[in-house]
């Protein structure tokens, strides 16, 4: 395995970790505030909003609470979900390329959500759509983690992810074209590239609790992740029940990623980039990567969502455009690292 990426050392304990987490937390808070005060093309900088508050407090309150707050809160929680899932999947599979998007979990979640939402299954209620996403993500994650044990070569697993991705994207497109609403076929852009625009507090109320369930399950794997750096046999000999850990990771990913994607569409590469940047800063300890990747994911997503609002395009840019532009160079870099360490 690529020991260059997964070497464990004892530096970065204690105080430096607290500093790293504090810095990330401050970034998340600052970016959240900036996000609340950012409108389309920068409208509603603090001065504009204060004027509006003075002139028309009721509209100001609705704008802030019903439009800006859900957007900011979803960017924060979805970013945290993707960062955390990426860190857990990479540790569990000992594969630096593993993350919900590349492994096809996100696309499968989108498929599940699309089927439930557009065909009005379970009344198409606000809770049914995220649950559809959870079901879709669960199928993909379970498939990959059951294959993962047999795929020693990291790139083979990624190829399996490519196949799942292609299938889920094709079926999503098919479902949208068959959907009764004539708008559905045009909305594929939302599902494959993601957006936080025009989400409401209702989305927050139904998606975030499911994401939190996922976070708890994902965090419950943390002790085992360090032991797994020594290999599955070593981890098992240390008393870890690997089958149970995998089931918790599958369920955790399914709940967190499924609910996230059902609410904001597929957002790529966040789970790849964030753990990769933070790994050296946590002394290459997979367990320590979890809280910092969560905060890092939230910060990256908030920044990207501020970015799409400031770029002057006729229609607002989908957020997946920015994350893919940031993410693909990392992906290529990691491919080269794996090739080098593999040969």
């Amino acid at each position: 395995m690529s020991s260059a990426i997964f070497k464990v050392n004892s530096t970065g304990r204690g105080r430096p970790q607290a500093i790293l987490l504090s810095v990330l937390a401050v970034m998340v808070v600052v970016l959240s505030v900036v996000s609340l005060f950012t409108g389309r093309l920068g409208f509603g900088g603090i001065a504009d909003l204060l004027t509006l508050r003075a002139a028309d407090p009721e509209t100001f309150r609705i704008l802030l609470i019903e439009i800006r707050l859900p957007r900011t809160f979803l960017a924060l929680t979805v970013g945290a979900t993707l960062g955390l899932s990426g860190a857990v999947l990479q540790g569990l599979l000992r594969n630096p390329l593993a993350e919900p998007f590349i492994l096809g979990a996100s696309s499968s979640a989108a498929l599940g959500a699309v089927i439930v939402f557009y065909f009005g299954i379970a009344g198409g209620s606000a809770l049914a759509t995220p649950l559809g996403g959870v079901a879709g993500a669960m199928v993909a994650t379970a498939l990959l983690l059951s294959l993962g044990g047999r795929m020693q070569e990291p790139l083979t697993l990624i190829l399996a992810g490519v196949a799942i991705n292609a299938l889920a994207a094709a079926l999503t497109s098919l479902a949208l074209n068959l959907a009764p609403s004539p708008y559905a076929a045009l909305e594929i852009v939302f599902w494959i590239l993601g957006s936080f625009a025009d989400r409401s507090l209702e989305h927050v109320v139904f998606a975030v609790p499911l994401m939190v369930i996922g976070w708890v399950l994902l965090f419950s794997t943390w002790r085992c992740l360090d032991a797994l750096t020594l290999g599955e046999d070593a981890a098992a000999s240390l008393g870890f029940n690997l089958a149970a850990i995998k089931i918790r990771a599958i369920l955790g990913c399914a709940f967190a990623v499924g609910a996230a994607v059902a609410t904001t569409g597929v957002i790529s590469f966040v789970g790849l980039v964030v753990p990769h940047i933070l790994r050296p800063l946590v002394g290459y300890r997979p367990s320590r990567l979890l809280p910092s990747s969560m905060l890092g994911g939230a910060a990256l997503m908030l920044a990207a969502d501020i970015g799409v609002r400031l770029i002057d395009t006729q229609l607002e840019l989908k957020i997946g455009v920015l994350t893919a532009l940031i993410g693909t160079p990392f992906f290529f870099h990691l491919l080269l690292v794996i090739r080098r360490s593999g040969s």
Binding site: E66, S181, S200
Partner: protein, 281 residues
Amino acid sequence: MNMTRLFILSFMLISGPADAVVPRRIVSMNLCADQMVLQLAAPDTVVSVSFLTADPEESPVAHLTEGLNLNAGQAEEVVALDPDLIVTGRYTTTAAKILLRSLDYPVIEVDVPLTFAAVRATYLALGAALGRTSQAEQLLDTLDRRFAALDRRVGGSRFGSMLILDANGFTVGRPSLVDQVLSRIGLINIAVQLDVGDFGQVTMEAVLIAKPDHLVRMAYRTNAPSLANLTLSHPALVKYLGTKETISVPQSWLNCGGPYLASAAEKVLDAIEVRQQASEQ
């Protein structure tokens, strides 16, 4: 190939110039053209209209399409119907129009009118082509009377600002016939201030800040779930509206100009008057 062309050519020569006869087998290939043709043509002279027109969500004259052949705007299916007049619209595919003309079918094009004068000209031109000029004049007279009645009801009073909102935040601005109708019934189209052109998108935040006095929601397939329709029921909009009720108008009434635009204007004015009476009491 040459033989076919020769055959068609000789056929055309025998049957003489098409505009001299009143068409008996009319095929219309466009949503708005269909509406106008069905309003003007003599009974049983229309053979086919576009499939969209048979759908009540798309066209207010869907009830007139019973028993008609429905086409998808392709030349092949039209030729099979052996029409003596083909009515197309601006959005009928250019390839189909060129092909049908090259096969020497009489093809006319109907554009969506953008002014009241253009409505008159469009209906009169189509009426002439169908040999139904008196029907066209009758329809225009009724339309004029309805707008004159609206003018009397409004009587110079102003009812504040209005925004028309379609799924995904699309709205109608200026220049457009809808915008002129709004002015005519004493409303200021706030989309013009938001600088959307004749048709464009506004953000939910812009709607809140512009604070229109009235909101017209274009109703279109509201029972089929989509993200686009979800934007119309966003809680921010619902809370902003508070006691103000939105006025729902079928999207198909606003698409083509003509009599249904008067229906839309009447519905909007009814709703505003009811609201005013309620607030006076």
